[in-house]
Symmetry: C2
């Protein structure tokens, strides 16, 4: 079915959010940005999204102020994409949607475990808070593979996510020089 | 661009959530169910979604346990769709996405205001909590039109939402006999 991407006549903040974030792949790109993916080649390797789609989504997320584009190489021209403050505000949405699926569409258990990295290592609750320490800054959230993870993937992002990793810390090629 | 709806190889709870909820119109249907819309004709009048798409989405939401289908007329056969417990757990996602758009993609101000109906009438904060009373049961959340609302719509759902309305309370034709 061919469906446009706008919701004409829907005078609703949710519709406006979905015109941007409801497009296929977009929220998975934002999720990867939280995991620390920054470069096109890494998004591409981890997401298997068609090239043109991935480029268009990254462009639109940058235009809309969810990602900030930073040039890290001039020849060839290459950009990194980093979450803006507005983008970082999407964490509760992404986290809660994931937990909702863990509870309501279960497969083999969660694919990722999220815990408070600093000292306590408690698993976060459904509100993305530490049951002992309360609200946790994004940088202090640690991601670990859960029982439902697909251990057969061999792209650099999947491999880097096999060990504990802090949210937002650069992942895969993003922390190597251009 | 023709894109499938599955995210093969994405071993992620978010991808699983999006395979269901990321389809065009689906989260707006769920939003309308929170507003109290229950019948196909009302979803159709309020959403302007193509008939076939709306039928397919309602069917899939019922199959996946987000909505419960209840037959209210045998001839002609007619069903109502009501949020299940799993469906009701989506409120924080829908609410936070809307607030995110209000802050980050502003147009003319919020289209809907959400406040604590019981006694206090305080506007809910970004966590969908009452700043005075704390967490608010869904049934005690009152929706009012905000400054960004489209006042020109004449469908029965838009008209019913012009006054204060409790979340989940039947709306438009849903509370009249078959």
């Amino acid at each position: 079915m061919a469906l446009g991407k706008d919701y004409e006549g829907q005078d609703c903040s949710l519709a406006r959010a979905l015109e941007l974030l409801g497009e296929r792949w977009t929220l998975l790109i934002v999720r990867d940005a939280f995991y620390g993916v920054r470069r096109y080649s890494d998004f591409r390797a981890h997401l298997d999204a068609p090239r043109a789609v991935l480029s268009e989504r990254l462009h639109r997320l940058a235009e809309s102020g969810v990602l900030r584009r930073i040039r890290y190489s001039d020849s060839p021209p290459r950009d990194e994409y980093i979450l803006t403050d507005a983008g970082r505000e999407l964490w509760p949405v992404i986290y809660r949607l994931s937990r909702w699926a863990d509870r309501n569409l279960p497969v083999d258990g969660p694919c990722r475990i999220f815990r408070h990295a600093r000292d306590c290592h408690h698993e976060l609750n459904d509100e993305s808070e530490c049951p002992r320490c309360g609200p946790v800054p994004l940088e202090d959230i640690e991601i670990l593979p859960g029982p439902g993870v697909n251990a057969t993937r061999t792209d650099p992002v999947s491999i880097a996510l096999r060990g504990p990793h802090r949210l937002l810390a650069p992942l895969a090629s993003a922390d190597t020089p251009a």
